[in-house]
């Protein structure tokens, strides 16, 4: 599609106006505009551009003088009459003229006297000089010998000048009738055009004028924009939540600050267990109220009435009151089960837990943990393996295997491993059946199948992260550029 200017120039060329100056004058635009349009037309093979270089002969100041008064040797010839002694011609400025007189054979010098030969025809140099008097001329219009002479005497200079001529091509001719009456090409449509315009192909007739709508280079890069989005890690957490919900689990939550009672003692962790050390747990300088602990104390000290040996020693309620940042979501789970000891229960939690770890690429002092529990009549360890297999399959880990594990509050315990291409078997989470010592004091009479896993470890695998900190101290470009549809 042609712009308004291009169309007008093409039309002018078709009307046998062949040079930019003429066309510019006719269209009332600048010569540069015509030439720019002509270039476009030429690229589209609608016209041919013929470039021509002219030599323009221009008189120098000295040349202009001689053109008016004649060449100096002619003036000298006229002034010597029939002869003149050389002595009278002492003026040095006459030396050049004298030279030319003799060179052209118009005069000779004999016995100290200069005498005309009587032969002094009008030379081509003089003719050219005269032709140039009023106007500069193209070198091709002038006598070459005369021009050479003048050039050598620095009476003229030659300037090279480019000029263009345009010829319409057959393709151009074909387009002429189609140009019709287009007067303007536009980029943006006005609401009025959208409402009232009449469309013919790419052209719109509106308000008595015809507009062409400029086509774009549709492959051109556009400015990058990014939508507001959920954090990729949150999307993974939500995916896990959805799996748990689909599997029929109810979502539970609990306080970040827990008493040692719920975080440790309720789970039959002995009070001198290394996991309870200041080294591993964030303790707070505060104490919590704890429930009636008689049964817990009895279980720890002598195993209650379930045939356990217990840990022996003396269980101290003061230690149980000490508050901590929960080290696992199990603190929340056991409290929930203690409140709802009747089957069936299927519950899960995904929340942040805290461990006293220095920050590095694979450790953070807080991270998300997923935990699920099933409490029902007649559920067994094999059912736990079934739930794990199903859960991991839904997470996209088709191959799962189980090997013995150890966790202080489960028996039996198992460490699931999933197969990941390129990494091999990777340990992912832990599971087991809550020990009787854990469930009995709360009146929970049926097995509790429990499993948990660190969500941030899954995130590293799924998002290909090298550094866990990326989840919490995120690079905004990473958040922007991680696609919503990434397979997590």
């Amino acid at each position: 599609m042609l712009s308004e200017n291009e169309a007008n120039v093409l039309r002018a060329i078709s009307e046998e106006h062949s040079d930019p100056q003429t066309i510019a004058k006719k269209l009332g635009v600048k010569v540069e505009t015509v030439r720019a349009s002509a270039d476009v037309l030429s690229e589209k093979n609608l016209i041919r551009v013929l470039k021509h270089v002219d030599e323009i002969v221009i008189l120098t100041e000295e040349g202009k003088e001689y053109a008016k008064r004649g060449l100096p040797e002619r003036s000298l010839l006229e002034s010597i009459g029939n002869g003149k002694p050389m002595a009278e011609l002492k003026d040095p400025s006459l030396k050049i003229s004298l030279g030319w007189l003799r060179k052209k054979g118009w005069a000779i010098i004999t016995g100290g006297v200069i005498k005309p030969t009587g032969i002094a025809p009008r030379g081509t140099d003089e003719e050219v000089l005269e032709q140039l008097l009023d106007n500069s001329k193209s070198s091709s219009d002038l006598d070459p010998d005369g021009l050479t002479t003048l050039k050598n005497r620095s009476l003229v200079i030659i300037e090279k000048k480019k000029s263009w001529k345009y010829e319409i091509t057959i393709q151009g001719m074909k387009l002429i009738p189609e140009l019709g009456e287009i007067t303007e090409s536009i980029a943006h449509l006005t609401p009025q055009m959208i409402k009232f315009g009449e469309w013919k192909g790419n052209n719109v007739r509106f308000d008595g004028r015809l507009y062409s709508v400029r086509p774009y280079d549709v492959a051109l890069e556009a400015e990058k924009i990014f939508p507001g989005k959920k954090h990729p890690y949150q999307r993974l957490i939500d995916k896990m939540r959805e799996i748990m919900l689909e599997m029929g689990f109810i979502e539970i939550k609990g306080e970040i600050i827990q008493s040692s009672f719920w975080n440790f003692d309720a789970l039959f962790q002995p009070q001198d267990h290394p996991a309870r050390d200041m080294q591993d747990t964030f303790y707070l300088d505060s104490e919590a109220e704890i429930p009636n602990y008689a049964k817990i104390k009895e279980m720890h000290e002598c195993g209650g009435d379930i045939g356990s040996t217990g840990w022996g020693g003396c269980w101290n309620p003061q230690i149980a009151r000490q508050e901590v940042l929960r080290t696992h979501t199990t603190a929340v789970t056991i409290k929930y089960l203690a409140d709802q000891p009747h089957p069936p229960i299927k519950a899960f939690a995904i929340d942040r837990v805290y461990r006293r770890e220095a920050i590095d690429a694979t450790h953070t002092p807080e991270f998300e943990q997923l935990e699920g529990v099933i409490m029902d009549k007649d559920v067994s360890f094999r059912h736990l393996l079934g739930v794990l297999q199903e859960f991991y399959a839904m997470m996209g880990f088709q191959e799962v295997r189980f090997r013995p594990g150890y966790f202080p509050y489960t028996e039996p315990s198992v460490e699931p491993e999933v197969f990941i291409e390129g990494l091999g078997w990777v340990e992912l989470g832990g599971a087991g059946v809550f020990r009787k010592e854990v469930t009995a004091p709360f009146g929970i009479d049926h097995p509790v199948l429990a499993w948990g896993l660190g969500v941030s470890r899954v995130a590293m695998l799924k998002l290909g992260l090298k550094d866990l900190r990326e989840l919490y101290q995120s690079d905004i470009e990473w958040l922007r550029k991680t696609p919503l549809s990434i397979n997590i």
Binding site: G248, P365, E366, R382, R403, E411
Partner: protein
């Protein structure tokens, strides 16, 4: 977890199976094969509940059963000796419990010495709670003369401690000897220190700190005296683990008499403890259907002594096992003996309806609103520090949840506001194009209780009050919350450009243009408009 270095050649010899076969099955017995492995050895981690596996000898014993080479109870011959250890009353307040044994006829290879030393270390950690509960001393018995005395001694008592050449008082040992410095705190509260002396008052041991140089174990040592002292009966288990491990190397265990003014007993006591279990209980827990005989067979592979009596299985638990507290511990071993890899996974039939937590439903709605407004979600840490939380924000410090022993001063409190953590994220992202608009939705802790907040912030050259006011309006409109707005006194905002949100007379949040001093404090240079909303608590008290 304790790591045991297993030398393949040594292990093959002790187990009687090829290294490939062993390594193929060992994880199924309950182990993590470590990353360190060479042509001659591999490091394997064992679980803390199985201190009997903290030595290569113990591992070999278990493997023999697990692989079916030697199953059932491992019985140890013990000769009855007449060495006497007298326990004096003076030590009863400090470290009352002691178990001792003699092991004779040992030939120490390098592997055996390394294994014994590592076993000692791991037991000090695993059962001994860093020697507080249990400490072990191993002596060349040929250097001393029985009978021995265990007593509480005057701290000024002098002897030459291990690795030293001159006498030191016990008090000085706690101050100057490396082991004294490391473990001296255990004795900090006591006026008398534990000491084991021979008939000539030569020092064997200053438990739980250091042995005497006199009884150092050398290449040519063949007969050992072992003392285990502590505060808990687990002392005797520990002794059993050490002596049975040495017996696996060909040592002959010899008992000693331990006597105080009231009682007298023979140590060690290697008699297995007896448990009676029923197959149906094991079947119910594990989910398999084994007969009593099959169950007994599985346990036999785990080196329990078993005999089927009617519908019951009588189980003898080896004296070196420290983990069996309840019948379920035996059932788990039955499952291991059966093979975890042979257990069929099966879904339970428990029918329940899944239900998301109401808070998560609300949070999902808010994420949808914020994404729609063009904000990117971030999930900063909840641990932070006062400098970021208050000083950089120009906010007056108030009472927050403080960690007693933070691992870093950067993380010593739990946030009560999310906005400062968003500022940190801006700080980290200065090199990325503006505008940046981010939000975070999550927990804060206020007066010890978990609450849920939303914070959002926008940084770019034209970020201003009206931009964030529009965002606040949009959020509250979508959440169907009615609020009134009044000027805020929060110093984080520019004077006259911060607002508080009041709903039902309660302050539920704030928004505005951040004070340039706040912006500068986080090394930022562009205007920031921000908001924070207090959404509610875990008990379901929500603003909408």
């Amino acid at each position: 977890m304790p790591v045991v270095r297993l030398y393949y050649e040594d292990l093959e010899q002790m187990v009687g199976a090829s290294r490939d076969y062993v390594m193929n099955r060992i994880a199924m017995m309950g182990a993590d094969i470590g990353k360190i492995a060479t042509e001659t050895y591999v490091d394997v981690e064992f679980f803390p509940d199985r201190p009997d596996l903290f030595s290569s000898e113990g591992v070999a014993r278990a493997l023999q059963g697990f692989l079916g080479i030697k199953t059932g109870l491992r019985e140890y011959q013990m000769t009855f000796g007449n060495i006497l250890v007298e326990v004096e009353d003076s030590v009863k307040d400090v470290r009352p419990i002691i178990g001792c044994a003699v092991v004779r006829g040992l030939e120490f290879s390098n592997e055996a010495i390394e294994s014994l030393m590592n076993l000692q270390e791991d037991l000090h950690w695993g059962l001994g709670r860093n020697r507080r509960k249990v400490a072990i001393g191993v002596h060349d018995i040929s250097r001393v003369k029985p009978p021995f005395r265990y007593l509480g001694a005057d701290p000024e008592h002098k002897f030459v401690p291990l690795d030293f050449t001159s006498e030191m008082s016990m008090r000085d040992i706690l101050k100057k000897h490396p082991k004294g410095i490391e473990f001296g705190h255990i004795l900090a509260d006591f006026k008398r220190y534990p000491l084991i002396l021979d008939a000539n008052n030569a020092v064997l041991s200053f438990p739980p700190i250091i042995n005497g140089e006199l009884t150092r174990v050398r290449d040519d040592t063949h007969d050992l005296f072992i003392d285990v002292t502590g505060t808990d009966p687990v002392v005797h288990k520990t002794l059993n683990i050490v002596v049975t491990s040495l017996a696996e190397r060909g040592g002959i265990i010899e008992s000693v008499h331990i006597k105080d003014d009231k009682s007298h007993f023979i140590s060690p006591n290697l008699a297995p403890s007896k448990w009676t279990i029923r197959a149906e209980e094991a079947n119910a827990l594990i989910g398999f259907q084994l007969s009593s005989e099959e169950l007994a067979e599985c346990l036999s592979r785990m080196r329990f002594g078993v005999s089927v009596v009617g519908d019951k299985v009588e189980v003898q638990v080896p004296a070196y096992r420290a983990d069996v507290m309840h019948s379920w511990d035996i059932f788990e071993d039955a499952a291991k003996g059966y093979g975890y890899d042979k257990l069929l996974a099966e879904l339970p039939r428990t029918v329940t309806i899944g239900k998301p937590h109401p808070i998560e439903i609300k949070k999902a709605e808010i994420r949808e609103i914020m994404s729609g407004l063009g904000y990117l979600e971030t999930m900063p840490f909840t641990l932070t520090n006062e400098e970021i939380h208050f000083h950089k924000m120009k906010r007056r410090p108030i009472e927050v949840t403080r960690i007693m022993h933070p691992i870093s001063e950067l993380h010593n409190i739990i946030r009560i506001s999310i906005l400062p953590t968003l500022m940190e994220i801006f700080s980290l992202n200065q090199h990325h194009p503006l505008p940046q608009r981010i939000f975070a939705l999550g927990e804060v802790v206020e007066n010890g209780k978990t609450k849920i907040n939303l914070a959002a912030a926008s940084i770019h050259s034209a970020a201003d009050f009206s931009e964030i006011r529009s965002v606040v309006d949009a959020i509250l409109r979508e959440m169907i919350v009615e609020t009134s707005i009044k000027p805020s006194e929060d110093a984080a905002f520019m004077p006259g450009r911060g607002a508080d949100l009041i709903a039902e007379g309660r302050n539920i949040g704030c928004f505005g243009e951040l004070h340039p001093e706040v912006i500068r404090a986080f090394n930022l240079e562009q205007p920031i408009a921000a908001l924070e909303l207090r959404l509610g608590d875990l008990q379901g008290a929500w603003i909408a």
